[in-house]
């Protein structure tokens, strides 16, 4: 859930252009470095959020934490509404909420990537504009893992799981490309699932808000 639609979209474009310009072996090599970049940034973001949340829980009183929890509830409700109405732009395709200049920049970089470092940097930067939607999820997950690890010490290992989960869609896409699927197939399925994606995002954000109200405030 920590990569929503932007990173898979950039990855799909990147693979398409790589298959168009290079041989299969080089494309797979580049796509691995893209995933590596995305994974490293996701890990750094999650672990730094984890550290910040640990500091907040250790240093602040229960009242302050409650106040932060209410802010998060408001944020999740806002994100539920935003994901329903603003996450995808109106019209054909799967154009996202990000400014068009940034989208054009990603498109140009995906098209012009020629080295492993280009692929790595593109992967690393591809999730950043979506942080508005993903950072609250990092915060809540970190808080929950910290709470669980106080009663069950082994549960801090869940951080590893949460670091691995975001790249699963990228590996599925890599597998699909490797087995003959192309950008047209992937984009058609993304367009077909657009309403479902909106709905599931909205429901997920609302459920998290409700769970925070019921159990954590």
């Amino acid at each position: 859930m920590t990569f929503l639609n932007l990173t898979p979209g950039v990855y799909a474009l990147f693979c398409h252009y790589c298959y168009g310009k290079f041989d299969k072996k080089k494309t797979q090599d580049f796509s691995f470095f893209f995933i590596l970049g995305a994974e490293i940034v996701a890990s750094c973001l999650f672990l730094s959020t984890y550290l910040l949340v640990a500091i907040v829980i250790a240093d602040f009183s229960r009242d302050v934490i409650n106040y932060i929890a209410w802010v998060l509830v408001g944020l999740f409700i806002a994100l539920a509404i935003a994901s329903l109405f603003f996450y995808f732009r109106r019209g054909d395709g799967t154009r996202l909420f990000i400014p068009r200049k940034i989208a054009a920049c990603y498109n140009a970089h995906a098209k012009n990537a020629k080295t492993r470092s280009d692929a790595f940097c593109l992967g690393a930067l591809s999730g950043i504009p979506e942080l508005l939607f993903t950072l609250p999820l990092y915060i809540v997950t970190s808080g929950e893992i910290l709470k669980m690890s106080s009663s069950h010490p082994g549960s801090s290992l869940l951080t590893i799981l949460y670091i691995v989960i975001p790249i699963i869609p990228l590996f599925i896409m890599r597998f699909n490309y490797h087995h003959g699927h192309n950008l047209a197939d992937i984009e058609r399925s993304r367009v077909r699932d657009k309403i479902f994606t909106r709905a599931i995002m909205c429901v997920s954000y609302l459920l998290i808000a409700i769970i925070i109200i019921c159990f954590r405030v």
């Binding site: 979209g9 298959y19 154009r95 990603y106």
Partner: protein, 80 residues
């Protein structure tokens, strides 16, 4: 003769798209040649051409040969 559009750039872009979706290079060359010559014919009579006109005509022509190819060309700016 005055050039109606940057044929070289479009040809390069179309070649990358064709290889990316797995069309064999020989077939891709034929599709691209036929598409671009038909596009030139259609644009000859027009005095003003917008980039949307050009894209629409190329997409319509590509649809005759390969649906995936046309779909990728049509939607390449609508993915993210």
């Amino acid at each position: 003769m005055e050039q109606l559009f940057d044929e070289k750039a479009i040809r390069k872009e179309l070649k990358i798209d064709a290889k990316g979706i797995g069309i064999p290079s020989g077939a891709a060359e034929i599709f691209i040649d036929k598409t671009l010559s038909a596009t030139k014919q259609k644009l000859k009579s027009k005095k003003i051409i917008t980039s949307q006109d050009l894209e629409r005509i190329i997409t319509t022509e590509l649809k005759k040969y390969n649906a995936d190819f046309a779909y990728v060309y049509e939607n390449r700016d609508k993915i993210i």
